[in-house]
């Protein structure tokens, strides 16, 4: 079943065509890799899907509802969570508060009741606190829940960013280079986490430069080059395709 449908997306920055007529689909509960050399338009595509950029042409459907050009927070509220490439966190807050803030869209009690601190609203918050603690434990951050986010090492900041996104309860998670710059053992742990996230029923769309990680993690892969879709298929097919190797010319592929 198709969760996200991207149809003929074009995005132009001045004279630069960042995306040209890109179409593909993300199926429910799959891990789809998005790869391509630098400047292929991967981050632009993420920005278009999550609402930070408006596409110049084309349409995007999420669960058969059109989300093209919606505001960032509307798209997030529909169930798409996005991780930024640079860890974007509430740096001056503790780890726990970071994740707790992620529950914003889950509250069903009206804001008025939250303001009055009615028992129902308080109960709702207590539930969120408990869930936040669970997510922290799941991402192995439980021990540092009272640290300031700014003081965490880089790898943990990435985990925290994912924890915040999970707090949103997304159906689709957009991960921008989650393991780039990590050492092999850290990468292994992160890959395992992403698999577990998928097992929780979250669909994952992932941009990553680490080919080994992408090949072992993804069910399918979409290759972008110079803003156009080059190829789409299972990892084995991508790995051996001459066009992909040419696109990465001069770069070590695997």
């Amino acid at each position: 079943m198709v969760l996200l449908r991207i149809r003929n997306i074009t995005r132009v920055f001045g004279a630069l065509i960042a995306l040209r007529d890109v179409s593909f689909e993300v199926n429910r509960s799959e891990i789809l890799g998005l790869i391509g050399p630098n400047g292929a338009g991967k981050s632009t595509l993420f920005n278009v899907i999550s609402g930070f950029h408006r596409p110049d042409k084309g349409r995007i459907f999420f669960k058969d509802t059109e989300i093209t050009g919606l505001r960032v927070d509307r798209i997030a509220a529909m169930g798409i969570s996005r991780i930024f490439q640079e860890p974007t966190l509430f740096m001056q807050e503790t780890v726990f508060e970071n994740v707790f803030s992620g529950f914003h869209r889950h509250y069903r009690e009206p804001a008025w009741n939250a303001f009055l601190h009615t028992p129902a609203a308080n109960r709702e918050e207590a539930v969120s606190r408990k869930k936040a603690a669970e997510i922290l434990d799941f991402m192995d951050l439980g021990a540092m829940r009272d640290e300031l986010a700014a003081n965490l090492p880089h790898g943990h900041q990435r985990s925290l960013a994912i924890a915040i996104a999970l707090a949103c309860g997304p159906e689709l998670l957009l991960l921008d280079e989650p393991v780039t710059g990590m050492n092999p053992s850290e990468t292994e742990v992160m890959i395992e986490k992403i698999r577990q996230i998928r097992e929780r029923g979250v669909t994952v769309l992932i941009v990553e430069h680490d080919m080994r990680a992408v090949m072992s993690l993804c069910d399918r892969i979409v290759v972008l080059n110079l803003g156009e879709k080059l190829l789409e298929g299972p990892p084995d097919k991508i790995k051996n395709d001459q066009r992909v190797i040419e696109a990465y010319l001069g770069k070590q592929v695997i």
Partner: protein, 342 residues
């Protein structure tokens, strides 16, 4: 959670309530201990300043910087004056009506202003104060530049007839406490967390489903309405208002309260700042002409060397910016021979 932690938490909680009780008793007993009417007047004005400073902090908590805290203060003062003097309403009926009027106005103007976060918002709010002052001064009905005099005192409740400063003190204290309770409820709810999220990272807040525009507008409306409450009080306390009283340095003093007390303390910060800024110049017997200069120097000193304000410095003294002080001295030494050019 580990047991000792939660014990400490319960303890800290209990101390907090004891501290609040002591402060409340002290604030209630204060006018009984003070004879001097002028000091009572200063106390009252410090309370007004605290309310205004808290409105600045509320917008700051949502990542907005206003230089126009005085605008809706003026709107409140004029609106309640007109409602009482021309429409013949009682002071107590004029207050809720004024709050509604300001809330509607703030919603309308805020809907335009809040679209521009960052630098543009700062400038717009600064200009808006000027617009309000000019608009009021141009209208004959509102007394022009001469203002309105002979504004009646609040109507008596029982034996309390607002003939003494003490009565006014209890009135503004009640308003202040009400504001604190409301603001605290907001900050401790998910609304306050959304504001904080928007302040710390608008992008991340957006991806969490928070609509920055709507929440900032809420902060603007609540802050403006609260400022108008202080305006209501001020008009009937001073019993005369002029447009000039709301322009000029007032909005700047208001943000100084928040910065001096400690920007990260949304309620206590403005209170400490307003108290210090009201009483210290009095006790230093500073000549009126020198006051802006002293204030300016004070502002620079706090910003450059005490990043957290008074409360922030008390909480974490190591944040005191000594290295800055030393490097400044170094710079001054280098620059001294050229100084006459400035």
């Amino acid at each position: 959670m580990k047991l000792p932690d939660s014990l400490a938490l319960v303890k800290a909680h209990r101390y907090k309530w004891i501290a609040i009780a002591i402060v409340l008793i002290a604030l209630t007993a204060l006018p009984l201990l003070i004879e001097n009417n002028y000091i009572k007047h200063l106390l009252i004005m410090a309370c007004v300043g605290t309310i205004l400073g808290m409105t600045f902090s509320m917008l700051f908590s949502a990542g907005l910087i206003t230089l126009g805290a005085a605008a809706f203060y003026a709107v409140g003062a004029y609106s309640s004056t007109i409602l009482v003097m021309n429409a013949g309403l009682s002071f107590w009926a004029a207050i809720p009506l004024t709050l509604i009027i300001t809330a509607v106005l703030a919603l309308g103007f805020g809907a335009v202003f809040v679209r521009n976060a960052g630098v543009a918002f700062v400038i717009i709010t600064l200009i808006f104060v000027q617009v309000v002052v000019l608009a009021v001064a141009q209208v004959e009905f509102l007394g022009g530049w001469g203002g309105i005099i002979g504004i009646p005192r609040p109507d008596p409740i029982g034996k309390v007839n607002f003939a003494t400063k003490t009565d006014y003190y209890y009135l503004i204290l009640a308003m202040l406490l009400l504001t604190i309770v409301v603001f605290n409820a907001l900050y401790s709810s998910r609304i306050g967390r959304a504001w904080r999220a928007i302040k710390l990272s608008p992008n991340l807040a957006g991806t969490l489903g928070i609509n920055p525009y709507r929440y900032r507008l809420l902060a603007f409306v609540v802050g403006s309405t609260t400022a108008s409450l202080a305006g209501c009080f001020y008009a009937h306390y001073s019993q005369s208002i002029t447009p000039g009283a709301f322009g000029g340095w007032l909005s700047i003093y208001v943000q100084l309260y928040a910065v001096l007390g400690g920007l990260e303390f949304y309620i206590l910060g403005p209170a400490i700042g307003a108290l210090v800024m009201t009483f210290v110049p009095e006790y230093l017997r500073i000549v009126k002409e020198w006051e802006p200069i002293i204030t300016g120097v004070l502002l620079l000193i706090v910003i450059l060397f005490f990043p957290g304000g008074i409360l922030g410095t008390i909480r974490s003294p190591q944040a005191l910016n000594m290295s800055n002080l030393q490097s400044l001295l170094k710079w001054l030494k280098v620059l001294l021979p050229h100084n006459k050019n400035g």
